[in-house]
Symmetry: C2
């Protein structure tokens, strides 16, 4: 997986405008937001899915950069005082702290535009109509009925006690939609998978997206700020409903394992039994940050 980590860093670096290009402060802040580390889970999922579909890796580079840009923009906006009001991200000051709020707003806005520029300005598929479908898929996954909608549900839920089905609904949007899209887009860079296999891969994406969020909730409750590189214990402090508040720490941990098992079962129907996606599923559940 190391060479893919390397690929995505290079792809992001190449896609982001150089800091010397005007407006300098905005471009410097965009690079700060995106190139500051991060696990790159979404790009790695795209590469893993692309491999199963026999995609050209150069095509997956563009998809991987685009989904990471959407993710990074959502973190920048989410950390702002109007939302989660957080000062620490990936072990460093958040963008609005390091720069200012207006710049953070524009960084997020510009990263979203750049994500769609990546998907439209490079060839991702042999068939241009398929590429249009891919762009629509990312737009839907990012918007008010996907990731941004999940954030809105999250805001409405503060200080409420949610049942597990409601929590699931929130997270399927907030975190799940983009993770699922990362898998789907990676796979669509190639033509090696049948429609049935794409469906199985989509099951994988759904389960692993939910597992990711359950683990996030567990880590927030159970880790130190130093280990996470972002403020720990934030959910409880902000009175946010989580899998830990709904189920308790032990049961939430078990649930993460069950979701991973479901994800892995979906991979059994795929070439190489899912290849790198299998390792990624383990990483997502066993990670410590």
């Amino acid at each position: 997986m190391l060479d893919r980590q390397d690929r995505i860093e290079k792809a992001l670096d190449a896609a982001l405008p150089a800091p010397a290009i005007a407006p300098v402060r905005l471009h410097t802040a965009m690079r700060y937001a995106v190139l500051g580390g991060g696990k790159r889970v979404r790009p790695l999922l795209a590469y893993g899915a692309g491999e199963l579909a026999c995609a050209q890796t150069e095509r997956v580079d563009s998809v991987a950069a685009a989904v990471e840009m959407i993710h990074a923009y959502s973190l920048v906006h989410d950390d702002m005082p109007a939302m989660d009001d957080d000062v620490l991200r990936r072990g460093r000051p958040t963008v609005h702290v390091e720069f200012d709020q207006a710049t953070a707003l524009l960084v997020g806005d510009s990263l979203q535009s750049l994500a769609f520029q990546m998907l439209s300005g490079h060839q991702l598929a042999d068939d241009a109509r398929r590429q249009l479908e891919m762009i629509e898929l990312l737009a839907r996954a990012s918007g008010s009925r996907g990731m941004a909608g999940g954030q809105a549900i999250d805001l409405e839920s503060t200080a409420k006690s949610l049942a597990v089905p409601e929590l699931e609904f929130m997270h399927i949007h907030k975190t799940g939609a983009l993770i699922r899209a990362s898998v789907a887009l990676g796979a669509r860079c190639g033509t090696g998978l049948s429609d049935t296999q794409l469906d199985q891969l989509d099951h994988f994406g759904k389960f692993i997206g939910l597992a990711f969020q359950v683990v996030d909730d567990v880590l927030d409750a159970d880790s130190s700020t130093a280990t996470l590189g972002k403020t720990a214990g934030k959910d409880a402090r902000n009175n946010k409903p989580t899998y830990v508040s709904a189920l308790g720490l032990e049961r939430a941990r078990e649930l993460a394992g069950e979701l991973r098992d479901n994800a892995l079962r979906a991979l059994n129907f795929l070439p190489q039994e899912g290849g790198h996606l299998r390792q990624l599923a383990e990483f997502i559940v066993l990670r410590k940050f």
Copy 2:
């Protein structure tokens, strides 16, 4: 032009998620932001350009809705306390005042996603590759080297005295990029124009975008809040460099007329001598709000 005003309102209404769809507050706020009036200059430019290129009007509907969504998102974010901190827009409270800041942030983010969904989820051109180019064009016009970049330059310029060439650079990005894109995208919904004609149309888009901003500066300095439907005198209060501060009111008015004349000259090379675009150019310079 009235039937086009009607078309764009219907297209926007149909494209925005119904308020009953979850998350309700977000969707209600998105509709509030977009459907609250507005001159619809960018959609009208798209229809005017589409007509010259013999485009199917249904195709231009999607483009017109997309550019208006990008414009509306930029207004919502621009009005937030971190940016211009304004409370009035189109004669009503701004989105963060009527709802809250977190919702305003997500409204803007979701409208940008929806704009790209419009351009990818509907057929805009016979050739899907051409449609990909159109999406890339809007992504570039919206991002850090287009509209959002112009906002960043604007922020950096507060309390500075800019010479006219620097002002022009700022506005070519901040307002000009999206207006120019509206013309270019409308024209690309059809195939009726030669490359030379598309170039002439692009000249028109550049001149009319700049004229629009010069008139905006004049109106801000010279009109009442009641007439504008947004806070008047804001530029002087915020110590922003404008064409009025750089040139004086009279010379700024003359400049707007000269830019319009240049725009009209570019139309001479086009079918119907530019058709509705000619009227629109007059409206942009003579408007009172």
